[in-house]
């Protein structure tokens, strides 16, 4: 079951274009605003490694490594990202409250946790 709202944004920052995909569809999307929940990927780690957000809030990962990384739900509870190159972003919207674990399928030692509250 897809417990997230399914909004996924991959921002191609280098060319200043961003997209939003929902259930596999590509849509235009606004850029991620200040104050949203950001997870930086740096030195092969998710920072913060554990994040708590409210249902309905957006969560955005940004890759600061020179290696590609992915965001994949361990229990396949949200759509996985494609490989993020340096400075690329991936955004989801938090859905059903609960605790979700994810990892980088390229470097599976990299894991993280999302806690969604009402």
């Amino acid at each position: 079951m897809n417990t997230f709202n399914g909004k996924i944004t991959i921002a191609a920052l280098l060319v200043g274009i961003s997209f939003c995909a929902s259930a596999g569809e590509m849509k235009d999307a606004g850029s991620v605003g200040a104050g949203q929940n950001k997870i930086e990927i740096k030195d092969f780690a998710f920072n913060p490694q554990r994040i708590t957000v409210k249902s309905g809030e957006k969560i955005t990962w940004i890759n600061r490594d020179e290696e590609p990384h992915t965001i994949v739900s361990v229990e396949k509870q949200f759509k996985k990202s494609s490989a993020l190159d340096t400075d690329q972003e991936f955004t989801i919207t938090a859905g059903v409250p609960g605790t979700y674990t994810y990892y980088c399928s390229v470097h599976p030692k990299m894991t993280g946790t999302i806690v969604i509250e009402k």
């Binding site: 030195d43 290696e67 030692k109």
Partner: protein, 321 residues
């Protein structure tokens, strides 16, 4: 010469049959030869300097090339296509061309068709035309390796996600895939189906058959904190334990490491693109930027030679300086 060697001999009373020699030169290129039951290695640069260090009376020689990362353009190496070309120039300059090449994965940086195209185009300059591949995790990023398999396994009867075997001059070669379906928190993995195939594949072979296994991620635990190992490699090695000579060739870590356990020699090759830190010497793995004048000394190739009647392969690492 900059080098470091990891010797980790098992304390099981098994004769290690001679010496273990491992050298890391600038550049990528290692010559492997088997002779007298001992696998040895030398860099191509050393071979070139010595003039005739590579034995010529061999029955089989082949070259390992690894981690080309075509498409990478960051500070660690802004022109990986050029250093790949230099590596191929070294191959073409060998007095006796290798019978074939083995590429141990990470052909590309991002699995993009145009990156594979560039690799294929540059490879055309190589005098040695036969190339056997296994994928790295960078080659299977978004499609599970579909594009990789379409391009590089056309003339191979591969099984599953792309593993296969072939024989040359009495040596049995096995290409394994350990970069797919990786589990959270884990290492590289071969998986049940591939392991069953491996057990069956070697069942009928005599114990005197030299075995060469090649895969991207090391089939020994180099540094699990960085994911440098394969979770189910022990089981695979169990199927190979009865053979008198087993040589394991890997890439992924972009540096030469070697270990001997019983009749099994493990060896990792340099990259043609960029070096990575020695295990545990940096906050994380990944591209390591070194002074420009030093870069080519940390990229290289691996060459391997085998002479019938001798069990071990001679392995030579050489850099691109």
């Amino acid at each position: 010469m900059s080098d470091y060697i990891h010797h980790d001999h098992g304390h099981d009373g098994i004769d290690r049959r001679g010496f273990l020699k491992c050298m890391a030169w600038a550049g990528t290129g290692v010559l492997w030869t088997i002779g007298g039951g001992v696998l040895t290695s030398k860099t191509l640069a050393e071979v070139a300097k010595a003039g005739s260090a590579i034995p010529t009376a061999t029955d089989l020689s082949f070259l390992q090339i690894s981690d080309s990362h075509i498409g990478f353009n960051k500070a660690a190496n802004k022109d990986v296509t050029e250093t790949f070309k230099i590596a191929l120039d070294r191959v073409n300059a060998m007095p006796t061309p290798p019978s074939f090449l083995i590429h141990t994965g990470d052909i590309t940086q991002l699995s993009k068709p145009e990156e594979f195209d560039t690799f294929d185009q540059v490879l055309k300059s190589c005098r040695t035309k036969d190339v056997f591949y296994v994928p790295g995790e960078h080659d299977v990023l978004n499609d599970g390796g579909k594009l990789y398999r379409e391009r590089y396994l056309k003339s191979i009867e591969a099984k599953g996600s792309g593993w296969y075997s072939f024989s040359k001059n009495g040596v049995h070669f096995i290409g394994l895939v350990n970069v797919l379906d990786l589990q959270a928190g884990g290492l590289g993995q071969l998986g049940e189906e591939q392991l069953e195939w491996l057990e069956d594949n070697v069942k009928g072979l005599g114990t005197d058959t030299p075995i060469v296994v090649f895969a991207h991620i090391p089939l020994w635990t180099v540094y699990p904190q960085w994911g440098w190992g394969t979770s189910d490699s022990e089981r695979a090695l169990g199927y190979l334990k009865r053979f008198g000579s087993v040589t394991i060739l890997n890439g992924h870590i972009h540096q030469v490491l070697q270990k001997v356990e019983g009749n099994v020699t493990f060896h990792t090759a340099m990259s043609t693109a960029f070096p990575q830190p020695e295990p545990g010497t940096a906050p994380s793995p990944g591209p390591m930027t070194v002074p420009a004048e030093k870069l080519r000394s940390m990229l290289g190739l691996t060459s391997v030679q085998y002479k019938q009647g001798n069990m071990a392969l001679a392995v030579v690492d050489s850099n691109l300086s």
